[in-house]
């Protein structure tokens, strides 16, 4: 059974590493649209896929994954916005969990936008 003692151990480990992310002005942001439309279109597994992929690659200090509301393009949900500081914001549309690894690898790691997944490609 999960115990609070384990949580204390996690706390001590987390305290040992300085929390860079909070002070990291260069942290990129992944915003997953999670209003009614996004959720219904399957945004939850997409957010989970981003969290997992970013943890797997050890990027948790460099990228935050969070949710946002509806930006008015419900027909293109699940919508994911990627904001890399100093670069233009990119909007990915109809995102499926299978597409996530490529977005993380190409865009967040190597700074190449995955053009065919963007809103510009399907409009």
């Amino acid at each position: 059974m999960k115990s609070l003692a384990e949580l204390q151990a996690i706390r001590d480990r987390a305290k040992a590493q300085i929390d860079l992310r909070k002070e990291n002005p260069n942290a990129a942001r992944v915003l997953v649209g999670m209003a009614t439309c996004g959720i219904a279109a399957g945004a939850r597994p997409v957010l989970n896929a981003f969290t997992e992929e970013i943890a797997k690659r050890g990027l948790t200090q460099d990228v935050t994954v969070t949710q946002t509301g509806c930006i008015g393009i419900c027909q293109y949900e699940p919508v994911v916005e990627v904001e890399v500081p100093g670069e233009e914001k990119v909007t990915y549309v109809k995102v499926a969990p299978e597409m996530v690894a490529r977005i993380v690898n190409d865009h967040l790691v190597n700074h190449n936008v995955v053009t065919e997944y963007t809103i510009g490609a399907i409009k």
């Binding site: 999960k2 384990e6 949580l7 706390r11 959720i39 219904a40 949710q67």
Partner: protein, 184 residues
């Protein structure tokens, strides 16, 4: 919505937008009484009686980016289509309680789905808000209270990956327990 847990995620975000600092999510299931009840309560800004009437209307939303607001209407529909009931009570300055009650055996019952995932994502995306999640069945019940976790964590954020992993496992183990030890 394919799962009630998705409705919960959606409606709980209304609490977030209402600037709540504490959101309680309670799921009570009983096969004996053929009932499942979901209650979401918050200490956010609340609504006037008139606004409460408006949120049930799909063509009402406080947002300006679009003209429809389907969160509450879909939640209400999911309950009423099973022969259950739906209720919102709210007071300005005090908060809102949304309760949906379902007849479990109805053919129109939507499965509860992965409610634990919903709770985990709500905590992950709103680490500064406290969540109290209670799930009960005929066999037993458990509660996850982020205020208690916060005490242990001493300033370490709830959205730290290892903490989220602990939360996910805590929820899963306890869920298996209250479902009689069977895999969910």
């Amino acid at each position: 919505m394919r799962e009630l847990s998705l409705n919960v995620m959606d409606v709980a975000q209304n609490s977030v937008r209402a600037k709540a600092s504490l959101v309680k999510i309670e799921v009570s299931e009983s096969d004996r009484n053929d009932n499942l009840t979901i209650a979401i309560s918050d200490n956010g800004c609340g609504m006037t009686d008139e606004q409460v009437q408006q949120v049930i209307d799909p063509f009402f939303t406080t947002r300006t980016t679009r003209k429809v607001g389907l969160g509450v209407p879909l939640f209400k529909l999911s309950a009423e289509q099973t022969g259950g009931s739906f209720d919102i009570r709210s007071k300005v300055g005090e908060g809102t309680v949304t309760t949906a009650s379902y007849v479990k055996s109805s053919v129109d019952m939507t499965p509860l789905g992965d409610i634990n995932d919903t709770v985990k994502i709500l905590i992950q995306c709103n680490p500064d808000i406290d969540f109290v999640f209670t799930h009960s069945t005929d066999t037993g019940s458990f509660t996850l209270d982020t205020r208690e976790l916060r005490e242990v964590l001493e300033g370490v954020s709830l959205d730290t990956p290892d903490v989220l992993e602990w939360i996910a496992q805590f929820l899963e183990e306890n869920t298996q327990n209250i479902y009689g030890g069977a895999e969910k």
